[in-house]
Structure formats: structure tokens, C-alpha cells
């Protein structure tokens, strides 16, 4: 007998019962319904039903709804037996061919794709080729057919039905293989690949998931390669969310030229084959395996083996010698698995098939526990998810820009509808909502993953997950579970999960307080309160001195704020902690790379960023930094390639365009430079003007250079105008127009002071100090140098000042600064600086041999692109005129190096070196060399200030010393 009051009571009791753990419910019901058997019966039944349903419905994902039901017949011939899986391009079924009385696999194209006639045509072409290959190691493709179902036309392909498991699954299950087994499998794969290549088919998406191991009678295994050439023909279904230049394919297996956007080829198949060879083995490889893998993985496609069989020649020979192949022992026949064209195969668990590399936005995690310390959960979850190379966590730094677009304040919380809209605007297809809610004695994390439909704000599919209730101590595990669920729902294979899966407490900190402070600092960063963030982070690392993440962030911020000294120290601490496994792989590599770049250790920077680029190929940043590292090493062509790649991945990056411009300028690739300058001209005309100025200088168009740099210096962007101002002063100094150069620098100093940029001011003081050196105004030089160093903690500036002081004869000052540098970590930046200072001290005091030694050591350590004028001066002084001329020639012949002098050297130093070169040539009685240097000098300093030697002065002074007739 029900009534409104009873109903409400029933509701309350039901909710109370569910809040308890299952075993406790029975007694609770007993107690609460004492004296009311009807109520008790109702309540018991409700709770029992809930428990039954709960098991039935928990963690459910929407089941796949297949187009074809069992029993449907296509083309009056093929009867669907059952569905097997879904791929990116269509659904796969097991079917029975009624005419030929046998089972086969049937793959239907998604209807939207079937309507695209261009796709279908391309598919037909591929199938025409594929049909011709009858090889036991290649999956047979039979035909392309059409049928109708429910009035709709269906395009489908019939193929061989294969029963077994993929190589990827086998490796996941059993781990790597022994040499003999792997050799046998490799031999069969190679035979398959070569057979297809011979028929003119390129696979384009070869990977271990495309290799099927079919168990035969007698315990032998037939290895079958699937999905030849069929993967990449059809256009992606989500044009709105396809970034221009998005790479189709499995990035992890792609050859470098494919990643760079070139078409697939036999050679790129060979590259992927090499990766699979490596995947099959582990540990210390035998020499023949190493050779095979290395040859396949050659960066240059032309250097790779011409065929897969040739690649594994040494391996199969060896295997044949060792023993007969032992049949594969444990193949578990799972459900029948059939070839899919694209994407990765998924079982019927309603798993998602998410495009690899898709972006996922983590909306602000809602903390409804009332406990502020739970803020750390969001941080941990974010970083756990960031470990995935399968999808990209949306960069939180984008939020300000996008929110601004939406007309919302920058600190708007990303939750609910705001998150969805932000995601849609930024082309992010997946949003993850999380709530931490109290549950019983502890907390639970509720997650909801949504797939957004393009062009609309209707939610598409969604998946939900809850972690079991836990106390705060178990929160790490809960986050870990939550993150694994997200990653696997997003479709990451288990192998990838395991490979890059560190438990959260390893990658953050064991101190909740430190983590909370970190979370607050991140908030402050979003609000652009950098000082506050720095303070919070300093406190967090004080709480936990092993908090690598905190150090890393602290370093990031400090360097942005130009506090190079403390910033480097913070990063150094992060790197030190990183080696104790407290950062994710991605962070560890990033820190190593950035730290190496900052201290001018470009060889190590190259290593770190190459790895990052390979493992996270969709992040343009790694290509960007790699390009930077290569540029500094003087490898301009390679640098340009990487920067091009970065630009393809993020066409809007002005920083990339800018770096590319300087790279092309240095590498003297003027056509390409023009193109980049055109792009820059539309997005950042002030930067374009800057590079135009540099280029004009390199072309000896000095008025043009001045005009362009003046334009650039008028920029509203303080950083850019600052740099252009210095650049302008440098050009004027090169031309010998010192008083104008000084005026420009004074203006720049005023501007920097007004903009509260003490670092910029200090740099300009140093520039003027160099002019003081050339004009022998020693006292002014000293004053400026000391002032510059006092401004802020920058080892680079300290080094530059010390060099000038040494050259001017202020030995004590120089030594003091050199001493100060020794408290920094040992790194190329510091080492070379100390050596240069020592070298200048020695040179000034005529200890030539010692000076040469120091400078040679510095030369070895400094990046190639740096000016090495000191070498030239030392060699000249030591009588090694050939060395001197060589060093100076490089400077003389590369006027594009003006770019480098603006940030790292001094104004006018290029032309000053010409003078030194002339002197060196004179000492060497090298008339031709002398003439050359003088010519260029004359063109530069055609109208110098008084007191600055012009060409006539130089000729007069120097050639006097030559005896007539020489």
C-alpha cells in the first residue's frame, strides 16, 4: 500500500542503503524497516534489483549498432553470419558465400564514404592491384561488390577470412620473441611485403597490428600481412576537425619522409618493417638483427634495403643455420579476427575507435568534496593523461586565447557548456569531465568522456566511469585507474599503456601540500600572475625537494621572466630529479632538451628533441626546438626541414616562421626565404621587416637595411621593437656610424626603462660598452659593464661583460666575474664563457700561447654558428696567420651572421673583424687576402664617423709597412 509519505520514505531509505557497502545493506534494511514488513519487502526488492542492474549496466559504453544484422544477404549471394568489428572506414562481418559455399570476410564502406566517388575510384584502383597478389603471406582480396540493404546502396569488399591473432596481440600477451621464432615470422612477412611490392602495391600503414598469425594444422603458423594500400585512400570523415597538414597513418611507424609530408613509398614500408623487427625482439640484439634494423631505419630512403627480403638476409641465413623453426607454441584462437582496412582492430566491447592523435580536453575537474587539497587530483589526472602518445591532451595554455575569442574573461572555469564550446571552437573532438565527490568515508572520481559532433553542440557518444570509493590515501590509485580508463577508452592499445604508464605518485610528489601549492600556481599562471606563481612554486619545492615537476615549472617561469640564473638552477634541479624517475618521459625529455638548449649544449638538445619528435609527432614544438638546435650547429638544411615540419603542424606559429627565416638567411637559401617573409608579412609584419633588414645588410643594401630595421623598431610589440632597435644600432656600427648607433641605443634604453625591462636595458648597455672599447673610452666601458651585470642574475650577461672588461684591461673585475660564473652548473655556456674570459685576459697580457689554448677550447665547446673572432685575434697574435685568415674569412663571408651579433655578440664586430683580417693578411704578406678584406671594409665603412678608420686610412697605415715590389 503506497502513499506519498511512504514513497518518500522509501526513497530516503533506498539512498541510504546504497551509500553503504553491499554486505552492510541487509542489516541496515532490517533495522530501518523494523515493524513494517511491507516496506521492508519493497526496499529489499528495490535494492536487489539495483544490484542486479548495476552489474548489468556498470561501465557500459554504447554498444555498436551495426548496419547489417545477422542473416542479411547482400548481392543475393553473401549472407551475414555475424559482425566482427569496426574500423575507421567501415564495418567488418563474417559472411557465408552461398555460391561457393565458404566463409569469408566482408567489409562494407561507411555510406558517407561510399558516396564520395573519388574515394571509391581510388579504392577500386588499389583493389585491382591487390587482387592480383596471390601469396600465402598476403591477405587475399577477392572483389569489390555492391549490394543493397534497406534501400541503400552498399559498397563492400570480400576478403579472405583469417583466424588467429595479430602480431601486436601476440607480443602484448607473451612479450618479445626469441631469435628463431622472430626470424621465421620476419621471413614470412618479408615475403609478403615483397610480393605486394612486386605487384606495385605499397602498404602505407605497415605495423605489427597488420600482421596476422594464423595457426595451421600440425602446429605451424602462417603469417599474413593485411590491409595493403587500402588504409589511406579514403578521406577522413571529420573535415572540420582535420587540421591542415594532418598526417593520416600511424605516426609511430611512419618513416621520417612520411612525417615530413612526402608520399609513402616502398622505402617507407621498409622503414616500418624495420620497426616491427625491433618490436619483435628485446634486449641486446645479435649483430645480424642490429644490422637489419639499422639499415631499415636509415633516415635517407635511398639508403634503405631495396626489398624486405634483402633487409633480413643475414637474419634468415643465421636462423637457417641455427635450427629449424619451432612451431609457435601458444596461439590462443580468440574470436575470429579479420583484416580491417584502417584504424586499429577492436573487440566487441563497444570500445571507441578514436583517431590516433586526436585531441582531448580535460575540463576543470570539479571538486565537490569541500576539501581544498583535492585540487591535486586535477593536476595528477592531467599529467597521467599527458603520458599518452596516442592522443594529445589539449594544451591548457590555449584557453586564454579561445576564451577571449568567445568574449569571456580569461579566468572562466572550463566546465560544462563552456568547456564544450571552447573545445568546439578549438577543434577538439573529445572532452573529459571529472568530478571528485564525497562518497561514504572517502571520495570517488566520476568521469564522463564526451565525443563532440562537429558543427553542433549536440553531444555525440559518451562514456562514463566511476572509481570505487577510496580515502585520500588511495587517491593516487584512483587517479591511476581513472587515467587508464580514459586512455583505453580512447583506444590506446594495452602495450602503449604499459610502455608509458608511470603511477601518479612517481610523477608528482608524495606531498599533498606541495601538490596543492602547485595547483594554485597553475591557476595563478592562467591569470597571468607570474610573480605569484613563482612564489607558490618556490614554497612547493621547499616542501618537497624532490618535486621535479615543481622545479620544472619554476624554471619555465623564471626563464620567461628573464631570470636566467635561478631559472637554470631550477631546471638543473628538475633534470637531476628526473633521473630519479619522477617525471613522465615526455617531461623528462622536454626538460633535458630545453635545459640543454639554454646552456648551448645543442648536441644533447638535438638528441632529446629528436626523441620527442619521434614519440610525439603531432606536437610542433619538438620539431621547432629540434630545428633550433640544428641551426646552432650550422646544419642549416636539416634545420630548415625540421622547421618546415613544425610549420606544417602549426601553420600559425610566428616563432617558427621567424626561426625559419633566420635559418634560411644563414644557409643562404634566398628563394625560400622570400616565401617565408611573405607569410610573415601578413601575420607579423614587424618581424618580417626585421628579417628584411638583416637580408638587406647581407646583400650590402645598407640604406635598405636601415630603413627596414627602423620600420621594425617602430613595432608596438616591446620585444620585437627592442630587438630591432639593437639590430639597427648594430648595422649603424658596422657602417662605422658610431654616434648614430649610440643614439639609437640610448633611445632603446629609454624605451626599455619605460617598459620596465631591466634586462633589455642591460643588454644595450653592454652594446654601448663595446663601442666604448673600440673608441678607447675605458672608464665608460667599466661603468656600463658593472651596471649591466648588477641588473639581474644572468650568466650570459656576466660573461659578456667580463670579456669586455678583460679586453679593456680591467683584470680584477674580469676575474671576479669569472669566479662568479663557476657557481653555475658545468655546461657549455659556462665553460666556454670562462675559457673565453681567461683567453682574453691572457691575450691582453701577451701570454699568447696560453690564450690560444683557452680559445681553442672555447671554440670546441661553443656552437658552430657563434662568431669566433677571438680565435682569429689569437692566431694572428701567435703568428698563425693561416689560422687567423681562416677564422676571419668565415666571418667576412657570412654577413648573415649579423643576426647572431644582435643577441650574442657586439655591434660592428663583423666589420671590425675585417680590419683584423686585413692586419693579419698584412702580417702574412698576403696581398690578395689583404685586398679582399679591405674591399669589403671599404664598402661598409665608406662614410664612418671621425675617429673610426675608413678604408683610405687603413690602406695608408697598413700598406706603408710593405716594401715596394712585394
Amino acid at each position: 500500500m503506497m502513499s506519498a509519505e511512504r514513497w518518500d520514505r522509501l526513497k530516503d531509505l533506498f539512498e541510504a542503503a546504497l551509500a553503504l557497502l553491499a554486505p552492510q545493506r541487509a542489516s541496515f534494511i532490517e533495522e530501518a524497516c523494523r515493524g513494517d514488513p511491507e516496506l521492508k519487502a519493497e526496499l529489499q526488492e528495490l535494492v536487489a534489483n539495483h544490484e542486479a542492474l548495476g552489474r548489468f549496466l556498470s561501465g557500459s559504453s554504447p554498444g555498436p549498432d551495426y548496419t547489417l544484422p545477422a542473416g542479411a544477404t547482400l548481392g543475393k549471394r553473401f549472407r551475414v553470419v555475424r559482425p566482427l568489428g569496426k574500423g575507421g572506414m567501415g564495418e567488418v562481418y563474417e559472411a557465408f558465400d552461398q555460391e561457393l559455399q565458404e566463409l569469408l570476410a566482408l567489409k562494407i564502406l561507411r555510406p558517407e564514404l561510399a558516396l564520395n566517388s573519388e574515394s571509391v575510384t581510388r579504392l577500386i584502383q588499389e583493389i585491382q592491384l591487390a587482387r592480383k597478389v596471390t601469396h600465402r603471406n598476403v591477405c587475399r582480396v577477392f572483389d569489390l561488390n555492391r549490394g543493397t540493404h534497406e534501400g541503400r546502396s552498399i559498397v563492400f569488399i570480400t576478403m579472405e577470412l583469417l583466424a588467429g591473432e595479430t602480431l601486436a596481440e601476440r607480443l602484448r600477451r607473451d612479450g618479445p620473441l626469441d631469435a628463431v621464432t622472430a626470424a621465421e615470422i620476419a621471413t614470412q612477412i618479408a615475403a609478403g611485403i615483397d610480393a605486394a611490392h612486386a605487384a606495385g602495391i605499397i602498404h602505407r600503414d605497415f605495423k605489427s597490428a597488420n600482421v596476422m598469425l594464423v595457426r595451421l594444422e600440425g602446429n605451424t603458423t602462417r603469417v599474413v600481412v593485411m590491409d595493403f594500400g587500402l588504409a589511406r585512400n579514403v578521406a577522413c570523415n571529420r573535415p572540420a576537425l582535420t587540421a591542415p597538414g594532418m598526417i593520416a597513418g600511424t605516426p609511430a611507424y611512419m618513416a621520417p619522409e612520411q612525417l615530413a609530408g612526402e608520399a609513402a613509398s616502398r622505402a617507407s614500408d621498409i622503414y616500418a618493417f624495420g620497426l616491427v623487427l625491433a618490436e619483435m625482439r628485446a634486449g641486446e640484439l645479435e649483430p645480424e638483427w642490429k644490422t637489419a634494423v639499422t639499415r631499415c631505419l636509415e633516415r635517407q630512403p635511398s639508403k634503405r634495403p631495396l626489398s624486405a627480403g634483402a633487409a633480413i638476409g643475414p637474419i634468415s641465413r643465421r636462423a637457417g643455420e641455427d635450427s629449424r623453426w619451432i612451431a609457435v607454441a601458444c596461439l590462443i584462437a580468440l574470436a575470429v579476427i579479420v583484416a580491417l582496412f584502417a584504424g586499429t582492430l577492436r573487440f566487441l566491447k563497444g570500445r571507441s575507435t578514436v583517431h590516433e592523435g586526436a585531441q582531448l580536453m580535460l575540463a576543470d575537474v570539479v571538486n565537490s568534496t569541500g576539501d581544498p587539497q583535492i585540487a591535486g587530483v586535477g593536476v595528477e589526472l592531467r599529467r597521467e593523461l599527458a603520458q599518452s602518445a596516442y592522443f594529445n591532451l589539449w594544451d591548457d595554455d590555449r584557453r586564454r586565447a579561445v576564451l577571449q575569442q568567445m568574449g569571456r574573461p580569461a579566468d572562466t572555469a572550463l566546465s560544462g557548456e563552456v568547456a564544450r564550446e571552447t573545445a568546439l571552437r578549438d577543434g577538439v573532438p573529445y572532452v573529459l569531465f571529472g568530478t571528485v565527490a564525497p562518497l561514504g568515508d572517502g571520495f570517488a572520481i566520476d568521469l564522463r568522456l564526451e565525443e563532440l559532433e562537429p558543427h553542433s553542440i549536440f553531444s555525440g557518444r559518451h562514456w562514463v566511469f566511476s572509481t570505487p570509493a577510496g580515502t585520500r590515501a588511495a587517491m593516487h590509485d584512483a587517479v591511476h585507474d581513472a587515467s587508464r580508463w580514459v586512455r583505453s577508452t580512447m583506444g590506446e592499445s594495452s602495450k602503449d599503456l604499459i610502455a608509458s604508464d608511470r603511477p601518479p605518485q612517481d610523477i608528482t610528489t608524495t606531498s599533498w601540500e606541495a601538490l596543492t601549492l602547485y595547483a594554485e600556481a597553475e591557476q595563478a599562471r592562467t591569470r597571468n600572475s607570474q610573480d605569484e606563481a613563482v612564489t607558490l612554486l618556490r614554497r612547493s619545492v621547499a616542501l618537497d625537494s624532490h618535486f621535479a615537476l615543481g622545479y620544472m615549472r619554476l624554471g619555465d617561469l623564471l626563464l620567461t621572466m628573464h631570470q636566467q640564473g635561478e631559472g637554470i638552477r631550477a631546471w638543473e634541479a628538475a633534470v637531476a630529479e628526473a633521473s630519479r624517475l619522477s617525471l613522465t618521459r615526455r617531461e623528462e625529455l622536454r626538460i633535458r632538451g630545453l635545459f640543454a638548449s639554454e646552456v648551448q649544449d645543442y648536441t644533447n638538445a638535438e638528441i632529446a628533441f629528436s626523441q620527442l619528435e619521434r614519440e610525439y609527432p603531432r606536437d610542433f614544438l619538438w620539431s621547432f626546438y629540434l630545428g633550433d638546435a640544428l641551426r646552432w650547429q650550422g646544419r642549416f638544411a636539416e634545420a630548415a626541414q625540421r622547421l618546415d615540419s613544425a610549420l606544417r603542424k602549426n601553420p600559425a606559429s610566428v616563432a617558427t616562421m621567424s626561426n625559419l627565416a633566420s635559418t634560411l638567411l644563414l644557409g643562404n637559401r634566398l628563394d625560400e626565404l622570400n616565401r617565408i617573409l611573405q607569410s610573415l608579412a601578413s601575420s607579423a609584419p614587424d618581424l618580417a621587416a626585421y628579417y628584411l633588414g638583416l637580408r638587406a645588410f647581407a646583400n650590402e643594401d645598407y640604406p635598405g637595411a636601415i630603413a627596414a630595421l627602423q620600420t621594425a623598431a617602430a613595432s608596438k610589440n616591446p620585444d620585437r621593437s627592442n630587438r630591432a632597435n639593437t639590430g639597427l644600432a648594430c648595422v649603424l656600427a658596422e657602417l662605422g656610424r658610431y654616434s648614430e648607433a649610440r643614439q639609437v641605443l640610448e633611445e632603446g634604453i629609454r624605451a626599455a626603462t619605460a617598459a620596465a625591462r631591466p634586462g633589455a636595458r642591460a643588454d644595450k648597455l653592454l652594446m654601448m660598452a663595446y663601442l666604448d672599447l673600440r673608441q678607447n673610452r675605458r672608464a665608460d666601458l667599466r661603468g656600463r659593464c658593472l651596471e649591466a651585470v648588477g641588473v639581474e642574475d644572468s650568466p650570459q650577461r656576466t660573461a659578456r661583460s667580463a670579456i669586455l672588461l678583460a679586453r679593456a684591461g680591467y683584470f680584477d673585475d674580469a676575474r671576479k666575474f669569472s669566479q662568479a660564473l663557476t657557481q653555475f652548473p658545468v655546461c657549455p655556456l659556462i665553460t666556454s664563457a670562462i675559457q673565453r674570459i681567461n683567453g682574453e685576459l691572457d691575450l691582453r697580457q701577451a701570454h699568447i700561447a696560453s690564450a690560444v689554448k683557452f680559445f681553442e677550447a672555447a671554440n670546441r665547446v661553443e656552437p658552430r654558428v657563434r662568431l669566433k673572432d677571438y680565435l682569429g685575434r689569437a692566431y694572428t697574435a701567435s703568428g698563425n696567420y693561416a689560422g687567423g685568415i681562416a677564422a676571419f674569412s668565415r666571418i667576412a663571408n657570412t654577413p648573415a651572421l649579423l643576426w647572431e651579433t644582435v643577441d650574442f655578440d657586439y655591434p660592428g664586430i663583423l666589420t671590425d673583424s675585417l680590419l683584423d683580417m686585413a692586419q693579419c693578411a698584412e702580417s702574412a704578406h698576403d696581398r690578395a687576402g689583404f685586398a679582399r678584406a679591405l674591399e669589403l671594409y671599404a664598402r661598409r665603412r665608406s662614410a664612418p664617423d671621425d675617429g673610426i678608420p675608413g678604408a683610405a686610412d687603413v690602406r695608408r697605415r697598413l700598406s706603408n709597412s710593405w716594401a715596394p715590389g712585394n
Binding site: E15, E45, L46, A52, L53, P62, D65, E150, V464
Partner: protein, 195 residues
């Protein structure tokens, strides 16, 4: 203002609680949805399936012609659509020959996938819901919106003006109660197949 503008206006008013606007909307929505459902269900094949959310979206688009309308208004539409959907399907089910009964799995978490074999189950569900509404109108609404229109918990919370937590609680209990009711009324089929 063309017909699409009118619907939007009505929606906006209904979203602000204008009962009269809702009353005007209902038959329009019902008419449109019935046409669509008839079109989708008209096939001579017995195994035809219908996705309720697809139907609702489609109706919405046809009526408003707008894809970018703010979701608050959309939710209200869906609330109406949910009731309508229920009516449409039940009417259709009653019209079918209820003797055909083959159980097809339907997931409660996703939208209802209706097929003619289930006409008996749908009628039973409808009746159970009607009974539920007597005791707890809000729980019934939650089920309707969740089940027939595929609204999310946040959206339901917004439409009903309650917290998400409340929606969750309602949903949990409603499911359990319906399961109970359906096991009593459908003695010869496993309620799991409906729920």
C-alpha cells in the same frame, strides 16, 4: 520571421517557463516527429531499427533549422521531445501486431533502440512509467528525458531545475523500481531485455 524563427521564439519562451508556449509547441513537435518516425519505421523489413536520439535531433533540425542554438533552449526542446517520443513510440507499438515477440537487447544508458518486436515491452514500459508518475513525477520525467531523448544528467538537471546529484538519485531509483515493475508485468520475458 519565417517558421523556423517562430519555433525558436516559442522555445525560448518555454525555456523561461511559459506554459502557453509549451502547449503550442507540443502538437507541432509531435506532428513533426510522428511524420519522421513513420518514415523511418515504414519499411517492410521486420528488423528495422530506430534510434530515438537521432529522431529527436532530426526533428529539432527540421523545426528550428538551427544547429547552434544555445543548449539551454535545446534542453527544453528535448524535454518536450522526450514526452513526444514516448507518445509516438507507444502509439506505434499499440498499432502493431503485438504477437511478434523476440527479445532484443536495449541499453538503458544509451537511447532506446526500438524495433517492432518490442512493441509489447514498450507498452509495458509506458504503463509502468505512468504508474511511477503518480508517486514521483520527477522520476518519471528523468526517465523520459534520459531514455527517450538521451539527455545528459546535466541537461536534465538544468531543465528540471535541480542538482545533478538529485538527477542521479532519481535515475538510480527509477531504474530499480521499473525493473521491479516490469518483472511483475512481463512474466514471460526477462526485464533486462527491456531495460
Amino acid at each position: 520571421m519565417g517558421p523556423t524563427g517562430e519555433i525558436t521564439q516559442l522555445l525560448l519562451r518555454a525555456a523561461r517557463g511559459d506554459r502557453a508556449a509549451e502547449d503550442v509547441l507540443f502538437p507541432i513537435v509531435y506532428g513533426e516527429m510522428r511524420k519522421l518516425a513513420a518514415y523511418l519505421l515504414r519499411s517492410e523489413r521486420p528488423d528495422h531499427t530506430l534510434q530515438a536520439t537521432a529522431l529527436v535531433h532530426e526533428t529539432y533540425l527540421r523545426l528550428t533549422g538551427e544547429e547552434g542554438i544555445a543548449w539551454q533552449n535545446r534542453s527544453h526542446f528535448f524535454a518536450i521531445a522526450a514526452r513526444t517520443m514516448r507518445r509516438v513510440l507507444v502509439d506505434h507499438a499499440r498499432g502493431m501486431n503485438a504477437s511478434k515477440r523476440r527479445s532484443v537487447r536495449v541499453s538503458l544508458e544509451s537511447a532506446l533502440v526500438y524495433s517492432d518486436e518490442q512493441s509489447g515491452e514498450v507498452i509495458a514500459l509506458d504503463e509502468a512509467l505512468t504508474r511511477l508518475a503518480v508517486w514521483d513525477a520527477r522520476q518519471c520525467q528523468v526517465v523520459e528525458m534520459r531514455f527517450f531523448a538521451g539527455l545528459t544528467e546535466e541537461e536534465i538537471a538544468h531543465v528540471l531545475g535541480v542538482s545533478v546529484r538529485t538527477v542521479k538519485r532519481d535515475w538510480t531509483m527509477a531504474k530499480a523500481w521499473l525493473y521491479k515493475e516490469l518483472s511483475h508485468s512481463l512474466s514471460d520475458c526477462d526485464p533486462k531485455t527491456v531495460l
